[in-house]
């Protein structure tokens, strides 16, 4: 059914974004928020309307009949729905965040980005996919850059990787078009699946190009360093969007293209390890390495946004590992974790933005004790890290558990070990962030800090709810995921509202939550029954009546936060963790040097004639070759 609601959810935000350039800043943010409310309605309105599409023809000579546009797909809708819900909450946060003091001019660009993002999820063909993908890239660069020199350096690094990825996408699109004669995603997958038998090398090259595009976007190894730059330097409220939603485009792409090809190609097309096709197996290892690498880097970070960016990298590693199992349990786990990560990382970044909003500080060890003055932010962050560490009964556990089940179904124990290492490490760095930012000593200069305003609190509370529900009742997300799997022709996961069947055992979120609540109730009873408690100031207890100022002791100095995991840093001293970045940097520098050399060649005097001779010689040489 040709319907204008699909273009409306893509073009609408873009047009409103362009229009909102004309409004004052406060107005822009409100417009942004309102647009997201409408979008949410629209997205749930189109739910399950399978035959929705919007295609148009473009007159473009090299392609006979260039049809492009959008079409409803269950997979796309799932991504669209979770991203719209998250975006709405982020936008509510931003409305509060961008007051006079903190306002950035990114709202219109962000709206355009939201439109492009919706377009990606609803893409019907490669060309449309490519167009919205690329639009998303450069818009996000401008947002990340937002006029700061340091941010730009981060953003341009992201954009360079992203541009390399999009160009890889461009190449692979044409390589497929050459054989299928159209840009449709479905026929491309079919072709690749057939080619995997007839011309495996060709198919692998195309798949590798796709994978490159999606890896760069999702920051899998060796592109794992851009989030630590870009997420950290982006505007604070945008980081949540960047880390929650934008990093998932690559995952979406992998699910859209690469996975179906492996599912559709015959079994004997690729060599298999543990029942996993070799390329996927390889991808799985890359993901596992990414997870471990991101974790170690996060443990070493002292900048809270950088730390969480590295954590995002690690989480994408989990998702990638789950995808690479090639089982429907793995796909379900990946989708589930994608959604969960969207919410909990959104919550974490939002609460960090709230912290920065009130304190203006990003270095963790300069903060501390904010839990006592910003309870809502603290609880959000706490739930966020519980979810992120994969501790039941919050959402992160269910999805991490499923990831392990998926890995285990294929008996990929070594990858699982790596992932488990990352997961334990996650607990370390997450607690570090919790402690150094929210616990310990409250520095005197932050004693008057207040909880954030109603808009931001509303957003934080909303995110909390989104973390709690899927943990207790995984079915809320797994049922839609099952319909996604069904639409892609995969087996469905056995699940109820509370219950999930894995490969080795089943869990019941309801019972786990019940047990936890009951245990806490017992302890609470004990706590209440115990003796009286008295609240005293912190420095009143352990200084034994001395006045701390006398020995020059302030709260800041008494806050143990810097070099928190010094022992682990010592252990990892010999690992060249920055080697990849260093290589990129060296490459960039040598390019500039080469550029200067070429320029000197042009600028050099008295070589005018020689250049003609050289040119002709070059022509002859190349022609003979």
């Amino acid at each position: 059914m040709m319907d204008f609601i699909l273009p409306a959810i893509v073009i609408g935000p873009v047009l409103i974004g362009l229009l909102s350039f004309l409004f004052p800043r406060k107005m822009q943010w409100i417009l942004f928020f309102l647009t997201n409310i409408v979008l949410l309605g629209a997205v749930f309105y189109i739910r399950d309307r399978q035959n929705l599409f919007f295609l148009f023809e473009l007159s473009y000579f090299p392609v006979n009949k260039l049809t492009m546009g959008m079409a409803y797909s269950q997979l796309g809708w799932f991504f669209l729905a979770i991203s719209t819900v998250a975006t709405l909450l982020f936008s509510a946060f931003s409305v509060g965040f961008n007051d006079k003091k903190h306002a950035t001019a990114i709202a219109p660009l962000w709206l355009i980005l939201v439109g492009a993002s919706n377009g990606i999820f609803m893409a019907h063909d490669w060309l449309w996919f490519f167009i919205v993908w690329e639009s998303m890239s450069w818009t996000s660069l401008l947002i990340i850059g937002h006029g700061r020199n340091k941010s730009f350096k981060a953003g341009i690094f992201y954009y360079l990787l992203s541009l390399a990825g999009t160009f890889a996408l461009l190449m692979s699109i044409w390589l497929i078009f050459r054989h299928t004669g159209n840009f449709e995603i479905g026929s491309g997958i079919l072709f690749l699946a057939q080619a995997s038998v007839r011309a495996p090398f060709y198919a692998l090259v195309v798949l590798a190009l796709f994978t490159l595009a999606f890896f760069t976007k999702s920051a899998l190894f060796p592109f794992h360093m851009w989030p630590s730059l870009a997420h950290a330097e982006a505007p604070d409220d945008f980081s949540a969007y960047l880390s929650g939603i934008m990093i998932k485009y690559g995952i979406f792409g992998l699910l859209l293209v690469v996975i179906p090809v492996f599912a559709a190609s015959p079994l004997h097309a690729f060599k298999a390890v543990s029942g996993v096709p070799l390329p996927l197996y390889f991808t799985g290892w890359i993901s596992a390495v990414t997870a471990a690498w991101g974790t170690i880097m996060a443990i070493f970070s002292s900048d809270m946004k950088k730390l969480m960016a590295w954590s995002t990298v690690a989480n994408v590693g989990y998702i990638g590992a789950a995808l690479s199992t090639g089982t429907s349990l793995g796909y379900a786990a990946a989708l589930f974790h994608t959604a969960n990560h969207m919410f909990f990382k959104g919550a974490i970044f939002a609460s960090l933005a709230a912290v920065k909003y009130r304190t203006g500080e990003r270095e963790m060890h300069k903060l501390g004790g904010l839990a006592y003055v910003m309870p809502v932010t603290f609880i959000t962050f706490l739930l966020g890290i519980i979810a992120a560490a994969g501790i039941p009964p919050l959402s992160g556990f269910a999805s991490k558990w499923m990831i392990f089940q998926a890995l285990f179904e294929r008996k990929l124990v070594f990858q699982s070990t790596m992932i488990f290492f990352a997961s334990t490490g996650a607990f370390l760095y997450l607690f570090r962030a919790l402690h150094t930012v929210f616990l310990g000593q409250l520095p005197r200069r932050f004693a008057k800090v207040k909880e954030v305003g109603p808009f931001m609190s509303f957003s934080l509370i909303g995110l909390m709810v989104l973390m709690l529900i899927p943990g207790t009742a995984p079915g809320t997300l797994l049922k839609p995921i099952n319909s996604v799997l069904g639409s892609m022709g995969f087996e469905q996961v056995k699940t109820g509202w509370f219950f999930v069947q894995g490969s080795t055992t089943a869990i019941d979120g309801g019972i786990t939550t019940f047990a936890f609540v009951l245990a806490v109730a017992v302890v609470f009873l004990l706590f209440v029954l115990g003796g009286k408690k008295k609240k005293v100031e912190m420095l009143d207890n352990y200084t034994s009546g001395e006045t701390p100022e006398d020995w020059n002791l302030t709260e800041e100095r008494y806050h143990y936060g810097n070099k928190f995991y010094q022992p682990i840093e010592v252990l990892f001293k010999w690992v060249p963790l920055g080697a990849v970045e260093e290589k990129y940097r060296q490459f960039g520098n040598s390019l500039v040097r080469l550029g200067n050399l070429i320029h000197d060649f042009f600028q050099g005097h008295s070589a005018w004639g020689w250049q003609l001779v050289a040119g002709i010689a070059l022509l002859i040489g190349l022609g003979v070759m």
Partner: protein, 504 residues
């Protein structure tokens, strides 16, 4: 179609009357020059919209090979239209800017546009040479009119290699004439395959040296950075968007119609794979141009090297010689003309108003005057080839035709795209620096109505071409068919039909 000669004659007439009228009524003469350019644009548009296919026009009743003919087909129509608009906008910009020049400057510009039209429409190789020389003479003088110490350096740096190359070109002409007895392009095209292979290759080299030099192909293009830097920005814009476009057009004509006999596919002269050589040199140009641009701090030089890179990509497309690659090359050329024009004019205005020519000094300009940042951004997006902006469709077609060429094509595509990544880097670096919050206060840059008119038109064109390639697609898609024919191309057929018809 006979009125096509007006495109060459009128500006020449006005130009040569300029020294006199300029002395008497300096202001009026400038307006007359501008009106002439406006007439050029309108007339070129009129001719373009009335073009149904290749038509040959004989000048003065002398048939080729003794006389000279002009040929109008879709390709020349489109290119002439774009060139005339480019020159009109640049000169309008120069005229309306604070640094307006003496009447002689406008005379030279008219001379330049006349010669560019000649280059585009002429059907005769020697005539082509003459127009190239006129274009050269006016270009050298225009560069020298720049108000900095680089201008004479730039002019000489252009003059000397170009003159050497034109001597080579004349050698080629002499050899062609002595073997085929004609200098008419269509006649040469139909009999070029009879030339001995080694001689044919030699002729091709002699002719191409000049064309590639004007087409800014590495390593022939040593004149580019200093000429662009020395010339006023409006003239740099004409070089990049007009002269390069016209030379690219000549490259396509000579390569596909003359050397290859309109067969399509890689250009071959005899047994020599000229197409492969051009393909390789094109790839080298892309890489060298983009990397050199990366290292530049001077905005005009950066834009100049970026043009070099773009021309390399177009050369790659032309050398392949398939329908879609030619289409993509022309699309890329045209969109580059508009986008680079916008970039040069905006950059020129900023340099003129602030006196700062390095991008590192541009910090915060767009904070005070955001529209300039937006203009630079849109121009950059157009040049890089980001979807929804004009450059994309050209690049898209070019990539589509290179990547399928097997292993070498794959490698070349990778290199071209890698160079495009570099291009993306320096353009966004430039744009971002403008939006950066600088420490020192930057004065607000103001522009007059003429600039806003020109820039908004250009932005409209860039965005419109990006959103709907179809608006020029109708004309462009006929071009490859006219160049590449089964037996002989539409161009050659048209001329030969006319010759045969008049013989009877």
């Amino acid at each position: 179609m006979n009125q096509v000669i007006l495109l060459i004659a009128i500006p020449l007439l006005v130009a040569f009357s300029m020294p006199l009228t300029g002395k008497l009524f300096p202001r009026v003469s400038k307006v007359i020059a501008l009106l002439t350019l406006l007439f050029e644009a309108i007339w070129a548009g009129f001719i373009l919209f009335n073009t149904k296919g290749a038509v040959s026009v004989v000048i003065g009743g002398w048939l080729p090979p003794f006389g000279i003919n002009l040929v109008v087909d879709h390709l020349s129509g489109v290119v002439a239209f774009v060139v005339s608009i480019v020159v009109l906008f640049s000169i309008f910009f120069q005229l309306s800017s604070g640094l307006s020049k003496k009447p002689n400057f406008y005379m030279l510009s008219l001379l330049l546009v006349a010669s560019l039209m000649g280059i585009i429409f002429t059907g005769d190789l020697f005539n082509l040479f003459v127009f190239f020389e006129i274009a050269g003479i006016s270009a050298y003088s225009l560069i020298a009119s720049g108000k900095n110490s680089n201008s004479s350096n730039g002019a000489l740096g252009y003059l000397i290699p170009a003159s050497v190359a034109s001597v080579f070109y004349l050698v080629g002409i002499a050899l062609i004439y002595s073997t085929l007895g004609t200098l008419n392009i269509a006649q040469i095209a139909s009999s070029f395959s009879s030339v001995k292979p080694i001689l044919a290759t030699f002729i091709a080299f002699s002719l191409l040296t000049l064309v590639l030099l004007e087409f800014e192909i590495v390593p022939f293009n040593s004149w580019v950075p200093r000429a662009y830097q020395g010339a006023p920005s409006s003239i740099s814009a004409i070089f990049s968007s007009g002269l390069a476009l016209a030379s690219g057009y000549v490259m396509l004509r000579l390569g596909v119609i003359v050397f290859n006999g309109g067969q399509g596919g890689f250009i071959r002269t005899g047994s020599f794979e000229l197409g492969h050589a051009l393909f390789g040199i094109g790839v080298i140009t892309v890489i060298a141009g983009e990397i050199a641009a990366l290292a530049q701090k001077d905005v005009k030089k950066m834009l100049a090297f970026s043009s070099v890179g773009q021309m390399g990509m177009v050369l790659v497309a032309f050398s392949i010689g398939t329908h879609s690659s030619i289409y993509g090359g022309i699309f890329a050329l045209i969109s580059h003309s508009f986008a680079k024009l916008l970039l040069f004019l905006t950059a020129g205005l900023i340099i003129m108003k602030t006196g700062k020519s390095k991008y590192t000094q541009w910090t915060g300009i767009a904070r005070c005057s955001p529209l300039f940042g937006v203009l630079m951004l849109i121009g950059s997006l157009g040049v890089i080839g980001i979807p929804l902006f004009s450059g994309f469709w050209g690049k898209f077609a070019i990539i589509g035709s290179t990547v399928v060429l097997g292993k070498i094509g794959f490698i070349a595509t990778t290199l071209i795209l890698a160079a495009s990544v570099v291009e993306g880097f320096y353009f966004f670096r430039l744009v971002h620096t403008m939006f950066e919050t600088g420490e020192e206060k930057v004065p607000k840059v103001k522009a007059n109505f003429a600039f806003w008119l020109i820039s908004s038109l250009l932005v409209a064109v860039i965005v419109a071409l990006g959103l709907r390639p179809g608006i020029i697609d109708g004309r462009l898609k006929k071009i490859p068919g006219e160049l590449i024919g089964n037996a002989e191309s539409g161009y050659v057929q048209a001329v030969n039909k006319q010759l045969k018809g008049s013989k009877k």
